[in-house]
Point group: C2
Chain length 356, copies 2
């Protein structure tokens, strides 16, 4: 007997590289999907085309989806809200979402980077939300995709594994059960500590950019993983990653190392992290950032390195490589990335640290 | 009336890029010169040629000089000893020189980097030298030269300014008066603090290498000053340099900034350090290090950044950029550069700090 379930109604927030492809993908799989984007001209272009065209892993002209820049309308027609926008815009969207949220809504920060769900709940409370909603986060993004223009997306691949956790464990199952029909690679975690510390971008992105800053700034295009992460930089990343793993151990999780992650996700191996990166063919065409304002620094430092540094300080685990990464970014950019980062983590720490 | 002075007898220690050209240059100017080199085969090649050929700024086949690998003989025939070898070899040469030194000798570490004369005196004492000698240091090397092979050197230019100081102020004049006949660009300083903190290589070399480590290690040849020191890296260097200047102020010296130094030495100007470097045609052909074991790291960190960090700690002046440079080098190379560096600076600090 086939289980009778109600149609899932998704709202995807943000029509960027991820959001546009994901909304079309969910609609393509039979879900009722709304794509919200703040900029009306983007929405109008999609609606004028009558939908979104996907090519690559999926080749389809996906129709029947609603695209809108009316947030009230977008949320009204949805049960599960996937927030797919850069982290620096989370506070703004949370503030604007708060008045329209209903108790039946579930929210997933996709991806959460580190502490995405936690910060989003705080933003919602600060914006006046009085009731508790299931809020979760994933450790990475479900698809690898690029937006060519409004209405046209290239989908390269699906991740083989996608971790998910809600802030309250009792909500994880509900979100997981809703989403797993469309996200077969989904793995439910017991705590957002695990999704937050599985943010592998914080390991692979910032140092690879910072230690090639002269190269980026002289306008040279090089391959981020293949030419940017040299043996010496890869050894630095192994030590940085070891601090992430040690922090995970403090919270009771045996996280996979960056080296193991390459095997999990891409089947790449080697004698060490450098070799494994060199053996990852999926990185063959990933080029370097072409501006020092890259999200490898401006997104991954405040939403990855900053919260890891502050959690490690509270946990009293080693964090000299994490701290050095933050100090170097601060010195090079002449700002304090804490100011735009997730540094205020004490409540999170106290809520999820091992008790007794 | 022309002053009647005794012929100056120089001993140049080391037949590398600097020493070989300098020995020939001093002999060419009429001084009696001995060139010492530890490796006998190098000495034999020079003697077989009957001298050293210079080309470039000076074109001459210089004869009549003694080249030897007999240290006793080399020192016996000299009054003023110029130590022109990499700093990591200073302890070895001091230990071997000590038994042959006489009270009439004067020693100049050329260049001293930071605290070269101070460390050399300690090495001599540790090696059993019981009497005090005039020991001085210069802030940079007198010539810009490259050794093509034993017996053949390319001399590009002479520095426009060369600072010199002895550990004891009363000896500075004696050394200065001896040397100024052959080194017309010589400027006597009141204290080795000034020569030590005028080590501009500590500003221009290590960070330029460390923040291009991925580039160096992927075998790319780029121009160290022109393509390696990008605007962001140049701004970092300005802050690093400001800590050197502040340290100088603590000791009572108004040192020139790296930006001013470019104008002093090369006549280069611009809106900022980046511009001035771009406008320095003398750097047009200075390529990047081709190995991560470059002296830009292995010499300039232990003999420049390390002593500046430790002096700044004692002086309680700002040193976050100096410290970050050291921390980054330690993390990337997986060693503690203090271990091979000039960290034990408390006696120096107490001897030269402003009193009262």
């Amino acid at each position: 007997m086939i289980e009778n379930r109600k149609t899932l109604r998704y709202c995807v927030i943000g029509a960027g590289h991820g959001g546009q492809a994901l909304a079309a993908y969910l609609q393509y799989l039979g879900n009722s999907t709304v794509l919200y984007n703040r900029t009306k001209i983007v929405v109008d272009e999609i609606n004028a085309l009558g939908g979104i065209e996907l090519y690559g892993m999926i080749n389809a002209m996906v129709k029947g989806m609603v695209a809108t820049s009316d947030l009230s309308l977008a949320l009204d027609s949805a049960d599960l809200i996937l927030v797919c926008i850069p982290a620096h815009a989370h506070q703004d969207i949370a503030t604007r979402m708060a008045p329209f949220l209903k108790p039946h809504h579930k929210i997933v920060i996709h991806p959460g980077r580190t502490l995405g769900a936690y910060m989003f709940e705080r933003y919602l409370k600060e914006a006046g939300l009085t009731f508790q909603l299931p809020i979760g986060e994933t450790d990475t993004f479900a698809l690898t995709s690029r937006k060519i223009r409004p209405g046209l997306s290239h989908v390269y691949s699906r991740k083989k594994q996608l971790k998910i956790a809600a802030l309250s464990p009792e909500f994880t199952d509900a979100i997981y059960n809703d989403m797993r029909h469309s996200f077969s690679m989904l793995v439910a975690c017991t705590s957002p500590v695990e999704t937050s510390l599985s943010n592998i971008g914080a390991i692979f992105h910032p140092i690879g950019a910072l230690l090639n800053i002269g190269r980026i700034e002289s306008g040279e295009a090089y391959l981020h993983y293949k030419q940017g992460i040299s043996p010496t930089i890869a050894r630095f990343l192994e030590k940085l990653d070891a601090e992430r793993i040690e922090l995970g151990e403090f919270f009771g999780f045996q996280l996979h190392t960056a080296y193991q992650w390459l095997d999990d996700v891409y089947g790449s191996q080697g004698n060490n992290l450098f070799d494994a990166l060199q053996n990852t063919r999926q990185y063959d065409e990933i080029f370097s950032p072409n501006e020092i304002t890259t999200r490898y620094v401006y997104e991954d430092i405040p939403t990855g390195i900053v919260p890891m540094v502050h959690l490690a300080k509270l946990a009293q685990t080693k964090h000299s490589y994490l701290q050095l990464t933050l100090d170097l970014a601060n010195a090079l950019y002449g700002i304090d990335f804490n100011d735009i980062g997730r540094w205020d983590v004490e409540d999170f720490f106290n809520r999820y640290r091992p008790k007794g």
